[in-house]
């Protein structure tokens, strides 16, 4: 590898030998094309004309009044396919095309990354297969259908906990034997180097737009930037532009599930250092190093690992991470729906729930919430929780 892929001591390339040449090839291609004029022009064209960038930084007046803070929402939910995931899939999809790869594989939990990959496969005319835990296939039937409508093949994974981590395991296994023709399009700032660095690069656009817009609207930086953290791509995307601005509080909302005493997905808040899916970071595991099952009301935060740069930001005290319970996330969902007419994804609802907690103790502050995705995909789950028959 050209770079070591480390954030402090976190990150790295903890993979079977068979994958090293594929990662080396990917790293070389990424380092070459990330500064390539033609590549960037093409990517910007698709981001603007296909995905719908730039997204607004919306001043949520009603919610601001309710919470006693000035609240802005970065509207990644308005993007094509309904979430920030499309930024990364466009970037990596295009990179795969430039590398001459003829097949895409991806993993998905909630389905958002799977859909974004399926759509890119269709746009760039590259056959796409998406690994998805069979339990998630069951929970997210609509998203499975949407992927299939875009021409992708969804492969249900029956191993382990039958959720996101097992979908990742199987995608890696596929890639071990197909790397010469296939690009594995990882959906978050996790995995072995160069993925955490590369996915952050493709998601930085969120932070860049946010910073420019808030400076224009407020004439100053926000007091806090809040985003949900599963693998950590939307949060890394928005945090990236503010890391050097020490006066801005960077706050990550983890899937607190039933609370830290019960089942949860709060990897940094309650996990320990470990190696999962190719990098050293924080993981949920037992005393013997066996990976635990994560739980969150939102499938996107239902992951026992987290991107290594988040582990680094946490260890340095530059960003803070807190668990937001299912109940708090649901309250966040209702707040935004009732006060602003915006249905957030259950993942993003964690960021809203976190903002509510932050605002309670920090009246009068300016807060940016990264609204990473929209909630249409979650209405079935919400209806069930509310006892409504759709």
């Amino acid at each position: 590898m050209i770079l070591d892929g480390k954030f402090g001591k976190y990150g790295g390339v903890f993979v079977p030998e068979l994958l090293i040449p594929a990662l080396e090839e990917l790293e070389r291609a990424f380092l070459k094309f990330k500064d390539d004029k033609k590549f960037n022009e093409e990517l910007e064209y698709y981001l603007r004309e296909f995905a719908g960038r730039p997204t607004p930084l919306y001043h949520a007046r009603n919610l601001s009044e309710k919470l006693g803070c000035k609240i802005y929402l970065k509207r990644e939910d308005l993007l094509h396919t309904g979430a920030h995931k499309i930024n990364n899939t466009l970037g990596q999809g295009l990179l795969a095309k430039y590398m001459g790869k003829t097949r895409l594989i991806a993993e998905t939990g909630a389905g958002q990354h799977g859909i974004a990959t399926a759509v890119i496969g269709s746009l760039l005319q590259i056959p796409t297969e998406v690994y998805m835990g069979s339990e998630d296939v069951e929970r997210q039937k609509l998203n499975v259908f949407r992927m299939e409508l875009s021409g992708a093949k969804v492969i249900p994974v029956e191993n382990g906990s039958k959720t996101l981590k097992d979908a990742i395991n199987d995608a890696f296994r596929d890639w071990v034997s197909s790397a010469d023709t296939t690009h594995y399009l990882i959906g978050s700032t996790m995995g072995p180097h160069p993925y955490p660095m590369m996915v952050k690069h493709f998601q930085k656009v969120i932070g860049k737009e946010t910073k420019a817009d808030i400076l224009e609207k407020e004439g100053k930086l926000p007091d806090a930037v809040i985003a949900c953290v599963g693998g950590g791509s939307n949060s890394m995307g928005i945090f990236s532009e503010f890391i050097d601005d020490k006066e801005v509080n960077l706050i990550g909302a983890e899937g607190g599930g039933e609370g830290l005493d019960g089942k949860h997905g709060a990897t940094i808040s309650a996990g320990t250092e470990g190696i999962l899916h190719g990098s050293l970071s924080f993981v949920l595991q037992n005393d013997h190093g066996q990976i635990a099952e994560a739980h969150s009301i939102s499938a996107g935060l239902d992951y026992p690992g987290v991107g290594p740069e988040h582990a680094f930001l946490s260890s340095e005290g530059r960003a803070e991470y807190y668990p937001v319970t299912n109940e708090e996330a649901l309250r966040g969902f209702k707040l935004l729906s009732e006060y602003e007419g915006i249905l957030p994804a259950l993942e993003s609802s964690h960021a809203v729930g976190m903002a509510e907690k932050y605002a309670r103790k920090n009246k009068g502050k300016t807060i940016v919430i990264n609204l990473s995705g929209r909630g249409d995909k979650d209405v079935d789950i919400l209806a069930k929780l509310m006892g409504v028959n759709l």
């Binding site: 590898m1 070591d4 790295g12 390339v13 903890f14 993979v15 079977p16 030998e17 068979l18 090293i20 040449p21 594929a22 191993n159 382990g160 981590k165 097992d166 395991n169 890696f172 296994r173 071990v176 034997s177 790397a179 320990t272 250092e273 470990g274 190696i275 999962l276 899916h277 190719g278 050293l280 993981v283 595991q285 005393d287 013997h288 190093g289 066996q290 990976i291």
Partner: protein, 271 residues
């Protein structure tokens, strides 16, 4: 206890123009007692060295066969500590080399120094972590040397000559050569590229090489030994016998014994 080294074994076999048979089992699969009996069966039927897997919940380099074995072992209560007890129990009846095959998180979680120290004390010769490439192995190599444990690495068809050189400099005991472009699992036939890889490595180094992944029949063993490998590692084909006969442990032992005997015969390429 007078534990043999890999060097002893490979040299002894070389003089007899034989390759080494290295069978694999996951410690605790399907339960502690039965897997001890399976290892005993290996030894009684010609095993020259042993690969003992410590099960991991998320084994990305492995196919469904090994993953199932891992799950059975974990469900039977296997832990890292019990894994070392397992090796101690095996050492009561054999002196042939034992390699631990696992994933790096188990080592990291226990603490590198503690893991390697305990490995040595329990009687293991070597450690291979499937997801620890040379890039990340600096700390492991230090403790391996400190405690006198050999560190094994893998090489594959995609490994460049330059990289191969780097791996060979770090690797001791033997080099684990991956016979397929993919995960572990029984295969119907060996690829010609495996033979080419063996020849390429032999041109670069004197270190013994053992070939694994997909070696599931006596003819595969014969083929890799004939091509110049010093040993053959057989895993999934053995684990399949366990999977298929879970309700009859006697049958598991009988079948594995017979299979090992056939595999061992196949290492005798000059007979």
């Amino acid at each position: 206890m007078n534990i043999e080294t890999y060097e002893d074994v490979f040299n002894r076999l070389k003089a007899r123009k034989e390759g080494a048979l290295i069978p694999f089992i996951v410690a605790g699969d399907p339960d502690f007692e039965t897997s001890i009996k399976i290892v005993k069966t290996f030894v009684e039927n010609g095993a020259d060295a042993l690969e003992i897997g410590f099960p991991f919940s998320d084994p990305v380099a492995d196919g469904p066969t090994v993953q199932l074995a891992d799950i059975r072992a974990l469900n039977s209560g296997m832990t890292t500590k019990r894994g070392f007890e397992f090796i101690r129990s095996v050492r009561k009846f054999t002196d042939i080399p034992i390699g631990i095959l696992t994933y790096y998180n188990l080592i990291y979680k226990m603490g590198l120094d503690e893991f390697y120290k305990t490995a040595k004390e329990s009687g293991a010769n070597a450690i291979l972590a499937a997801d620890l490439p040379p890039e990340e192995a600096k700390d492991a190599l230090e403790v391996a040397e400190k405690h006198g444990v050999q560190q094994i690495f893998m090489a594959a068809q995609t490994t460049s000559n330059e990289r191969l050189q780097e791996i060979l400099e770090m690797c001791s005991g033997f080099l684990y050569v991956v016979a397929v472009m993919g995960i572990t699992g029984a295969r119907d036939e060996l690829k010609i590229s495996t033979v080419e890889l063996i020849e390429r490595i032999k041109a670069h180094s004197e270190i013994p090489i053992a070939v694994g992944f997909g070696i599931s029949r006596p003819e595969h063993v014969r083929e890799v030994i004939t091509a110049g490998a010093d040993g053959a590692i057989v895993a999934s084909a053995i684990l399949n016998i366990i999977t298929e006969n879970l309700n009859n442990k006697e049958k598991v032992l009988q079948k594995i014994g017979k299979f090992c005997k056939e595999l061992k015969e196949a290492t005798k390429v000059n007979l």
